[in-house]
């Protein structure tokens, strides 16, 4: 192996350690018996995961994560909101990106509109949506959260998808069209198989951005809300305890397993 390759691998490893540093400590500290976030750990325990729920535990910060039904409600809401956002992002990004390859009237305006969706600060979109629905006299629902997350995720997904298109894709499509193949067949048998991984990537991006979004969601969240708004609200009212590190550890394990399965599927597909 060349010296430059070794340096490259060491550098990438260091960056991974930096990215994962808080996660590593999150996992270790989640097994601390003490409610305080402190080193060194005096006693290891599973108390914050599966401990008994005592009747005196009125403060939600002290309820073991497995018994916190509000947290699991928020997780269910997050999965639903992020899942629908991912599907909508896939549809909007794929259809728009495929169309924008052609010289359409107003193509640049549409491009800047997509860029505006990304550059507009979350607080502005959230507040604007709240004002719009208050003026219309319509109550805010989960669908508003899905819509503003879709706008944000689509802008990001659109730029990434268009940049990844196979340069030869249009040539294949034009050849098929010259041979008088039905446009639907061209799409199903040429276009879609060639862009399926870009479509999947747009979906993953939509899911991730929606899952992690706090600023936009804070404005339109109602009730338990989603994971990001629920935990933020809990920590602004109640003290930080090891319980939330246990919640983070569960999310870490589930997300790593899920993404590793995704990586394997992508690798098999690439073959």
């Amino acid at each position: 192996m060349k010296k430059s390759d070794i340096i490259a691998k060491i550098y990438m490893l260091i960056i991974f350690i930096v990215i994962y540093l808080p996660t590593i400590f999150l996992v270790i500290l989640s097994f601390n018996d003490s409610p305080k976030i402190l080193f060194p750990i005096k006693q290891l325990s599973m108390r914050w995961y599966t401990g008994q729920r005592e009747l005196w535990q009125m403060n939600p910060s002290y309820i073991p994560i497995i018994h916190d039904w509000q947290f699991w409600n928020a997780v269910t809401n997050s999965i639903r909101v992020s899942g629908i956002t991912a599907v909508l992002t896939c549809i909007i990004v794929t259809v728009t990106a495929l169309t924008m390859r052609y010289r359409l009237v107003g193509r640049d305006i549409l491009f800047y509109l997509f860029l505006l969706g990304f550059i507009t600060p979350g607080a502005l979109v959230g507040l604007g949506t709240v004002l719009m629905f208050s003026m219309l006299g319509v109550s805010i629902t989960e669908w508003n959260m899905i819509a503003i997350n879709t706008v944000y995720a689509s802008s990001f997904g659109f730029i990434l998808m268009m940049a990844r298109f196979d340069p030869e894709l249009m040539l294949y499509e034009q050849t098929a069209a010259a041979l008088r193949v039905d446009p639907l067949r061209v799409y199903l048998h040429i276009t879609l198989p060639l862009i399926k991984w870009e479509v999947l990537s747009a979906g993953i991006m939509g899911f991730l951005l929606s899952w992690g979004e706090l600023i936009r969601n804070l404005w339109v969240a109602r009730g338990t809300g989603v994971v990001s708004t629920f935990i933020y609200t809990q920590l602004t009212v109640y003290p930080l305890t090891t319980k939330w590190f246990a919640a983070g550890t569960i999310m870490t394990v589930v997300s790593i397993v899920g993404l590793l399965i995704m990586a394997e599927l992508l690798s098999r597909g690439a073959k």
Partner: protein, 281 residues
């Protein structure tokens, strides 16, 4: 027929963007010119919301705080992320390895934002790992104060936004033929010219795109500075503060000024390179 079909296909995206982006922004723009009355507004044209906001003694501090932290974070992400994107593009040969690296980069983003932020408490806090190590090694005699300072803000933002810099640079570098780099080396081009004239210039649309992604993500995040930078005053925080007091016209004016700041920075960046080249040209 096919041409008309193309216009129909852009409609779902267009309608979504008009209804959930343009209309809310339009309402905020109109609202920013209404007279403020507590709680709410009175339909009476005024520019006083803008004048009082722009001439307030805090505005200059908020603008400087907002710009230097957001641009600073984007710049640090570029310095750290560019070599990573280069190694990822040219030094990792197997597609399977690339897929796994991508997924490992994405995994921390599925952990909740608030939990990810508070996890830094265990590292940077006064009783955290960093201070414990430094104290036990005798390098310092009393704990360093990192949390609730701008340094903590930069550390947390760089960690959470690095991915947004790496991906676009990787996309831009992926379009560069590696044989061009080899050809330059064969022709005895000095290393700094290979890096600047070939690698960096080819990646410029991705660099600008990544810079915009990180800048916008950080400029709109008012929670992290408020929590981890000792309650640092930023433009985003002022929007939230006004809104929490139901001062809609002032919140709208502050929000529109924040958007204008974003657009000015974006305009300057797009003058350097047109990111449309990365997308469809």
């Amino acid at each position: 027929m096919v041409r008309h079909m193309r216009y129909i296909l852009i409609l779902p995206g267009l309608i979504t963007y008009i209804f959930f982006l343009i209309v809310p922004l339009g309402i905020m723009t109109v609202m920013s010119f209404f007279k403020p009355v507590w709680p709410g507004y009175k339909v009476e044209f005024t520019v006083s919301n803008y004048i009082s906001y722009l001439t307030s003694p805090q505005f200059k501090t908020m603008l400087i705080n907002t710009l230097y932290t957001s641009i600073g974070t984007a710049f640090i992400c570029l310095v750290i992320g560019f070599p990573f994107a280069y190694c990822y593009t040219f030094k990792v040969k197997s597609q399977r390895a690339k897929n796994y690296i991508t997924m490992f980069l994405l995994a921390p983003f599925l952990i909740d934002w608030t939990i990810r932020s508070v996890a830094w408490l265990s590292i940077l806090g006064e009783g955290g790992v960093l201070n414990s190590l430094l104290l036990s090694s005798g390098l310092i005699s009393k704990p360093l104060k990192i949390l609730f300072t701008p340094a903590a803000l930069f550390i947390i933002w760089v960690q959470t936004n690095l991915l947004f810099m790496i991906f676009p640079i990787n996309l831009a570098l992926g379009r560069l033929d590696p044989e061009m780099i080899d050809a330059a080396r064969v022709l005895k081009a000095p290393p700094h010219r290979v890096i600047y004239d070939i690698i960096f210039k080819a990646s410029l649309p991705g660099v600008i795109c990544g810079f915009i992604f990180v800048f916008v993500n950080t400029i709109s995040d008012y929670v992290t500075p408020a929590l981890w930078a000792g309650g640092m005053q930023t433009l985003g925080l002022s929007v939230s503060t006004y809104a929490s007091q139901f001062l809609w016209p002032q919140a709208s004016a502050a929000g529109i000024i924040l958007l204008v700041v974003c657009i000015i920075v974006l305009y300057i960046l797009l003058k350097i390179v047109d990111i449309k080249k990365l997308v469809y040209e």
